[in-house]
Amino acid sequence: MEVPILKQGQVLIATFQAALSDADLKHLRIGLVEQVVKFRSRGVIVDVTAMDVMDSFASRTLREIAQMIRLRGAETVIVGIQPEVAFAMVQLGLKLEGVATALDLEEGLEYLHEKFKETN
C-alpha cells in the first residue's frame, strides 16, 4: 500500500493509512528519506491519525525514520496519535523516545516552523 507523501514548502507530509503491513513500513522508511534528499526538506510530518493500533514494529520504524531523517539535517514530528492508541502504547512501553510529537497537522506544522526559526 502506497503511503501518500505531500510536499508543502520545506515540509513533507506522509499520511499513514489504517492498516500498514511491515513491508509497507519498511518501504516508507527508505522512501521518505529519499524524498527528503530529493526536495531538500527541512521537516517531515508523519500523520498517524488513521492508525487505530500501533505495535512495537511500527513504533520502532517511526523512531528509525526520525533518526535517519535527522542525519539529513531535517526534523520529524509524529502527529495524530489517538488517545486510545497512546494509552495502549505506553502500557506496552512504546514511548517513541526522542521523537517529537504533536496533536495534529496544524500543531505539527507550527512546531516545525518554530524549529526552523531556531536554526535560521
Partner: protein, 283 residues
C-alpha cells in the same frame, strides 16, 4: 379418602387466601408495625404497598411463575431504597406474610391433620421461593444503585478543567485505585484532544499516598500525554509520594515537577508564552 393433586391443593389455598384477603392483609400490616419494620414509611404507604405485595404473592402462588413477582420486587425496591429501607426489613415483612398466611391455613385445616400436611406440602416450597425472589430482587436493586453511585462519584471527582487557552488542570483528590487511575488517564487524554491542550498541570496535593501500581500509572499518563503533543507538569507531590516514585525507579529528570499548583500554573504559562502580571505594570 381421595388424595387431591398438588395443583388442586394450590388452587384451594389460593382461593382461601383471596377470600380472606382483607382480614389477612390487615393482620399482616399490624404485625409489621408491631415488629417495628418499615419505620421509614407512613402507615398509608405501608398499606398501599402491602396490598400490592399481597396480591403479587397470591398470584405467584397461583401461577407458579415468579417473573412478575421479581419485576415487582425490583420496582418496589427502586422506590423504597431511597427512603432508607434496609434489607432485613424487606426480608422481615415477606417472612411475616408467610407466617400470617401459614397460620390461617393451620386454623382452617386444623380438624384434618392429613389434609393440612398436604396443603403445607404445596404451600411451603412456593412460599419459600417467593421469599427468596423478593429478597434477591431487593438486593440486586441495592447493588445496582451502589454501582451507579460509585460511577457518579468517579466521574465527579476527576474534572479536567481548562484555565487558559491550551492549558488544562487536573486536580486529583482522595484515594486513587488502579481503576480510577485508568479512568483519569482516559479522561485526560480525551480532554487534551478536545481542548487542544499543549500543557497539562496534574495536581496531586490532595492525594495522600499512592502505591507503585498507581505511581506507574501516573508516569504512563505523562508519557501518553506527550504522544498527544502535550507537556505535563506534576505538582503537589508529598514526600511520601516522592519516595514512592524514586523507589520504583522513575526517572524524575524526565518528569516535570513543581512544588505547588501555583508554581505549576506559572511555569505552564511561561511554556505557553504568557506573561502574567499586575495591571499597574502593564501601563
Amino acid at each position: 379418602m381421595r388424595s387431591e393433586a398438588p395443583s388442586e391443593l394450590l388452587r384451594e389455598l389460593v382461593a382461601h387466601l383471596r377470600q380472606n384477603r382483607t382480614q389477612l392483609r390487615e393482620e399482616w400490616v399490624s404485625r409489621i408495625s408491631e415488629t417495628r419494620l418499615l419505620t421509614a414509611m407512613t402507615k398509608e404507604e405501608i398499606f398501599a404497598e402491602a396490598t400490592s405485595v399481597y396480591d403479587s404473592y397470591v398470584e405467584a402462588l397461583e401461577t407458579e411463575t415468579f417473573e412478575a413477582l421479581q419485576a415487582y420486587a425490583r420496582n418496589l425496591s427502586e422506590r423504597i431504597i431511597p427512603r432508607g429501607v434496609e434489607t432485613h426489613e424487606v426480608v422481615g415483612i415477606v417472612l411475616l406474610l408467610r407466617d400470617v398466611l401459614a397460620r390461617s391455613l393451620f386454623a382452617k385445616y386444623q380438624t384434618d391433620f392429613k389434609k393440612l400436611n398436604r396443603i403445607l406440602d404445596a404451600y411451603e416450597p412456593a412460599a419459600n421461593r417467593i421469599a427468596n425472589t423478593v429478597a434477591v430482587g431487593f438486593v440486586q436493586e441495592r447493588e445496582r444503585v451502589i454501582r451507579q453511585q460509585q460511577e457518579a462519584i468517579r466521574e465527579l471527582s476527576t474534572p479536567v478543567l481548562q484555565v487558559r487557552e491550551r492549558l488544562l488542570i487536573l486536580p486529583i483528590i482522595g484515594v486513587i485505585d488502579p481503576q480510577r487511575a485508568r479512568q483519569l488517564t482516559e479522561q485526560l487524554l480525551r480532554g487534551i484532544r478536545t481542548n487542544r491542550a499543549k500543557v497539562v498541570v496534574i495536581d496531586i496535593t490532595g492525594v495522600a499516598a499512592m502505591d507503585a501500581t498507581v505511581a506507574n500509572h501516573l508516569v504512563q499518563t505523562v508519557e501518553a500525554s506527550r504522544l498527544l503533543g502535550a507537556t505535563v507538569i506534576v505538582t503537589g507531590l508529598s514526600p511520601e509520594i516522592a519516595q514512592t516514585l524514586v523507589t520504583i525507579g522513575v526517572d524524575l529528570g524526565k518528569m516535570n515537577t513543581v512544588g505547588d499548583l501555583q508554581g505549576g500554573i506559572e511555569q505552564a504559562e511561561r511554556l505557553l508564552g504568557y506573561k502574567v502580571g499586575p495591571l499597574a505594570e502593564a501601563q
